[in-house]
């Protein structure tokens, strides 16, 4: 037992010492993300996007070089807090990105709160995440913002009775509450709302239950894997009720997996790979080169922006960036022109984002005016 402990301590020490042998003009940031486990597909995309952003930053002739330390959290709160302690211990790390899920982000945030380490999550959507302390930021629109926006959109289309389903996660909870509030405030009715567990294979009973409430339209809170399953089964059951969704479902993989069943789905996004703006096309080209021609979805774009926002904050805090200075620089982020639109942090460290309306037409996401 002792030998085992000593051995692992020694291994950890070696890893730590290797980290300190860096040149003085290198600034380190940490990135905790699920590189393995059930949500690895998202973490792997984040790392790819972060590496693109990092390579660009380091090639741009800035006064210092940046380095990102990636650590695999497996979307597990135990591992997330371990990583958080590890990052806090590393005096050279001035800011942290991640984690993917709100659960792990919030468990880690308890560590960052006490240590005074700025933390920027590209996806954490829990309403209380940014309330933990002044060190928690996110650059994704919350459902408190997106829900009412989508509610107004659907009501303007004449859908008064709307059914809502969402995955049983903190994010799904916020999808339903944000949207329901928006519908009520604008004179519509939510006729049905239910949660399903992530990774559910059979949605048919949920769909028939939902149809019994005779909704004019269905609003859904799911990611692309669940979304594709759901849409295929809606099609199989011959149901023609229009389906609306959130920006979380915005991924080319949704269309890839659902095929024809995705036709006519409406959703919002703050990232459009078809947008001709040069900085967006630049990211899309880089992403395609790194992933066999695949088009990036919303989440890699979020990660790409998160890394660039963090690096911009570090640059502002340079020379001698400290965690406190980086935090203050992050808080001052205003109209940061990213690929997911302009990002400004409000006083409570939430991103204010512009949303774009999109419809699936002919196997592609097409922006629509209304």
């Amino acid at each position: 037992m002792t030998a085992l402990k000593t051995a692992s301590l020694a291994a950890l020490m070696t890893a730590a010492l290797a980290g300190t042998a860096l040149a003085a003009d290198t600034v380190k940031i940490g990135y905790q993300l699920p590189l393995t486990g059930e949500t690895a597909q998202y973490g792997q995309d984040f790392r790819k996007a972060a590496e693109i952003a990092l390579a660009e930053f380091n090639a741009a002739g800035k006064p210092f070089k940046a380095e990102i330390v990636f650590e695999d959290s497996r979307s597990d709160a135990k591992e997330g807090t371990n990583i958080a302690r590890k990052f806090v211990d590393d005096k050279e790390i001035v800011g942290v990105l991640g984690d993917f899920t709100s659960g792990v982000s919030m468990a880690s945030a308890q560590v960052y709160k006490d240590a005074g380490m700025p933390q920027l999550s590209q996806t954490a959507s829990h309403p209380d995440y940014t309330k933990i302390s002044k060190y928690q930021f996110r650059n994704i629109a919350t459902q408190a913002q997106e829900g009412p926006y989508n509610a107004k959109w659907m009501l303007s289309k004449g859908y008064k009775n709307i059914a809502v389903i969402a995955e049983q996660t903190d994010w799904g909870q916020s999808v339903v509450s944000g949207f329901t509030d928006g519908v009520k405030a604008n004179g519509g009715t939510v006729v049905f709302s239910e949660f399903f567990n992530r990774g559910l294979k059979d949605y048919r009973s949920l769909i028939s239950k939902l149809e019994r409430a005779k909704p004019d339209a269905i609003y859904t809170g799911f990611f692309y894997e669940d979304g594709a399953q759901f849409l295929r089964q809606v099609q199989q059951l011959g149901i023609k009720t229009p389906v609306y969704s959130t920006s979380a479902a915005y991924s080319p993989k949704l269309i890839e997996l659902a095929g024809e069943a995705a036709e006519g789905v409406h959703l919002t996004s703050n990232f459009l790979p078809t947008d001709p703006a040069p900085h967006i096309q630049h990211f899309v080209t880089e992403w395609k080169a790194a992933s066999n021609g695949a088009v990036p979805g919303q989440f890699p774009a979020q990660a790409y922006d998160a890394v660039r926002i963090m690096l911009a904050a570090v640059e502002k805090a340079y020379p001698n960036p400290t965690r406190e200075k980086v935090r203050d620089a992050l808080a001052q982020t205003k109209d940061f022109a990213g690929v997911t639109g302009k990002t400004s942090f409000s006083a409570d460290r939430e991103a204010e984002k512009e949303l774009v309306k999109v419809e699936v037409k002919g196997g592609a996401f097409v922006p629509v005016a209304d």
């Binding site: 301590l9 709160a77 211990d89 468990a107 240590a115």
Partner: protein
């Protein structure tokens, strides 16, 4: 095992290993941790201790009583949720929530175990799987009560009658003390007449029944006691991390704890401790290997089961160790021959 193999403990020797272990846990390790002064090492030490408790508590029911338990993490979760809810809703501190977490977990285990205690082998395993999933789904879906997937932020840290114990070293000592006391209790339970009775159920429950051992009652007790200790571990986790959500207590955690017990050695308490240390420290130690670390952990587990099917420290050697070195409860005849546990 031949009883005459077990030589009598000599007085001085009997206390040596427990003393060394206590010195290691309460002096040596804290000194090393304080020397490095890195929050990461403290965190891992605390996490390893919590999983030692979980693994040791599962050892009682799966290792000693031989009941395959697939829902242990749920009782860990019940403990954590009890602590979190009591401290957020009623403002109770760690001193109060710690025992209550254990008691609530034990109570729930007692209630759900009542109808399942006549089940044997695989049927019992499936029943515990169902119990684990039920409890997990309650944590996940009873949103009004448990806050569901939103989880709970626990603002109260570790404390003792109002004195904050949230410093690094204080946290370590608190966790270590609680875990050491619990493991000591589990040790006394498994190295005693009581433990032998549980072992008799594992070896042949019909025979044990015929010999007058109340198998259903003993199973119920072992199951309930093990849930109590898991609940205590849950309380430690809730107050230590400050945020819990149902994801921390899902089925894969039960399997992780089961793996600790099996890799360490079924029926062996030191084995359960070693198993927990291995499966917590190894994945952290292998971080430098990036995406390959899970494969390496899997490989180590596979090889250890392949080469040491009885575990890293099997039951026979563990019992010999317990009788020779921790011989406090082992009674000898005047001639110095061992006759059994007190």
């Amino acid at each position: 095992m031949n009883v005459s193999d077990l030589s009598a403990p000599r007085r001085g020797q009997g206390a040596l290993i427990p003393l060394l272990l206590a010195l290691l846990v309460f002096v040596g390790l804290p000194a090393v941790l304080a020397g490095f002064d890195r929050g990461y090492f403290y965190q891992i030490a605390n996490l390893a201790l919590i999983f030692i408790l979980l693994s040791a508590s599962m050892h009682l029911v799966t290792g000693v009583a031989g009941l395959l338990h697939l829902g242990h993490a749920a009782f860990y979760g019940v403990g954590a949720y009890t602590a979190a809810l009591l401290s957020t809703k009623f403002g109770l501190g760690f001193t109060v929530t710690l025992p209550l977490s254990g008691l609530v977990a034990a109570l729930i285990a007692f209630l759900v175990a009542l109808p399942t205690m006549r089940l044997v082998s695989i049927y019992f395993a499936v029943a515990t799987l169902a119990i684990g999933q039920m409890l997990y789904l309650v944590m996940l879906n009873w949103v009004e009560f448990t806050k569901g997937p939103n989880g709970i932020i626990v603002t109260k840290g570790l404390e003792l009658f109002g004195f904050s114990l949230s410093g690094r070293l204080a946290t370590y000592y608190t966790v270590a003390t609680v875990v050491a006391l619990c493991v000591l209790a589990i040790g006394r339970l498994s190295h005693s007449y009581y433990g032998n009775a549980l072992r008799s159920i594992r070896e042949d429950d019909q025979c044990a029944d015929a010999m007058g051992v109340s198998t259903a009652r003993l199973k119920l007790e072992a199951f309930t006691l093990s849930a109590f200790f898991a609940g205590v571990a849950g309380s430690l986790w809730a107050h230590m991390t400050g945020y819990i959500s149902p994801g921390d207590f899902k089925f894969s955690e039960s399997i992780l704890i089961l793996a600790m017990v099996v890799v360490g050695g079924l029926g062996s308490l030191p084995g359960a401790v070693i198993g927990a240390l291995l499966l917590i420290l190894l994945p952290e130690g292998l971080r430098a290997f990036g995406d390959f670390r899970n494969i390496m952990v899997g490989l180590v587990m596979f090889l250890s089961i392949l080469l040491l099917p009885k575990g890293l420290l099997g039951e026979v050697s563990a019992l010999q160790l317990a009788r020779r070195q921790l011989g406090a409860a082992w009674r000898n005849t005047v001639k110095g021959e061992g006759i059994g546990w007190r």
